[in-house]
Subunit: 189 residues, 2 copies
DNA sequence: TAGGCTTGCCTAGAGGTCCTAGGCAAATAA
DNA sequence: TTATTTGCCTAGGACCTCTAGGCAAGCCTA
């Protein structure tokens, strides 16, 4: 009997593809086992449980997203960097809906620190170098940007913007203009 | 044998309470049946299936949230209205985490139109009356505000802001200042 | 108040997911 | 080659979803 050659990495990778196909919430141990032509129980020597699998998937997705964003903002600054960041973020979410959903998992503090989650804040902060913002305004702005990007993508995918004919793409670009303008004249109390 | 007196409404209400206690994803038909001291199968004469139950819960939560927000902005305008809206929105999400998660369910177009989801956009639009914004900027601003509020609450609950010592509350209030400032000087191309 | 009707909740049971315990055999090390 | 590790297996329990069909509580009407 030939072995399937499973590893935690291969499982995580396959889970990521599965997530994009059928949605993050449908990434089950059973489905993954089926995909490899193997019994459910066989996976438990590689992953601790279903939650562990999803955490690994989240960490993978966070790393991919961080990499994309880093590549996008490299060599840019100011509004260029802001737009590049936002486009990379949103594009990743659209191309990899399941993986993107995974990035929103609540990770325990240890995992979050080890993962690329911290890199996000750092990169968002890098964008702000092109603007005249210092602590604590910088942190407030980072949080606002992150929230807006995530909120936009999240609501868009939930269909919240379908009720109005105005194109989502156009609104998105205008919102980036608005955020740029806001960062350039951040209210100082 | 006395009857439990179940109705779709009572089930939905109980599901809402359950969601806030154990999380939206743990709202199961079984758990609900246990709560009423009844067998799982008994619920299927009142609700079609588990998905139907969750949709009803989402519709309930959307209505509650809309009501809170409407009460908050009544009689206010401009920045007052903006802040009241935002606070009501975030407070609801904090007090009713399970219900709030439910509001993010992807509803089919019919249900969404019938539900209070449409009311949200309408109310956000009402806020903008205090600012000098007209179509299509108004729609863009509505989407930006909605995204930011949802994104903030969502990231906050996922623990995304814990990595930095700056208080989330302080950041949130500053972000509202920033949004107010942005709406007052919305960039016109 | 006795009959009949509706309907609320039941039992039984099939199928799916998660996970543990323990076993055999393939791959690797001694 | 033998010993050890490791990968995948079978078996089985617990929980969740949902369907089909049954009995009786509570309502009507006479």
């Amino acid at each position: 009997m030939a072995r399937a050659g499973l590893t935690a990495e291969r499982l995580t990778q396959a889970a990521a593809e599965l997530a994009d196909e059928v949605g993050f919430e449908n990434v089950t141990v059973s489905a993954l086992a089926r995909h490899f032509g193997v019994k459910d129980a066989s996976l438990y020597s590689h992953i601790r449980n279903a939650h562990d699998l999803r955490v690994r998937l989240a960490v993978l997705a966070l790393a991919e997203l961080a990499e994309r964003v880093a590549a996008a903002i490299a060599g840019r600054s100011g509004k260029d960097a802001l737009v590049a960041f936002a486009q990379a973020y949103r594009t990743y979410a659209h191309e990899h809906p399941g993986r993107y959903t995974a990035t929103q998992m609540a990770l325990d503090p240890d995992t979050a620190a080890t993962s690329a989650a911290a890199k996000h804040a750092e990169m968002t902060r890098a964008i702000l170098r092109g603007y005249d913002l210092w602590e604590p305004d910088q942190t407030d702005a980072v949080r606002l940007l992150h929230s807006t990007f995530h909120g936009y993508v999240s609501l868009e995918r939930a269909g919240a913007f379908h009720s109005h004919p105005r194109g989502v793409e156009a609104s998105w670009l205008r919102s980036l203009d608005a955020l740029d303008s806001l960062l350039r004249s951040w209210p100082t109390d």
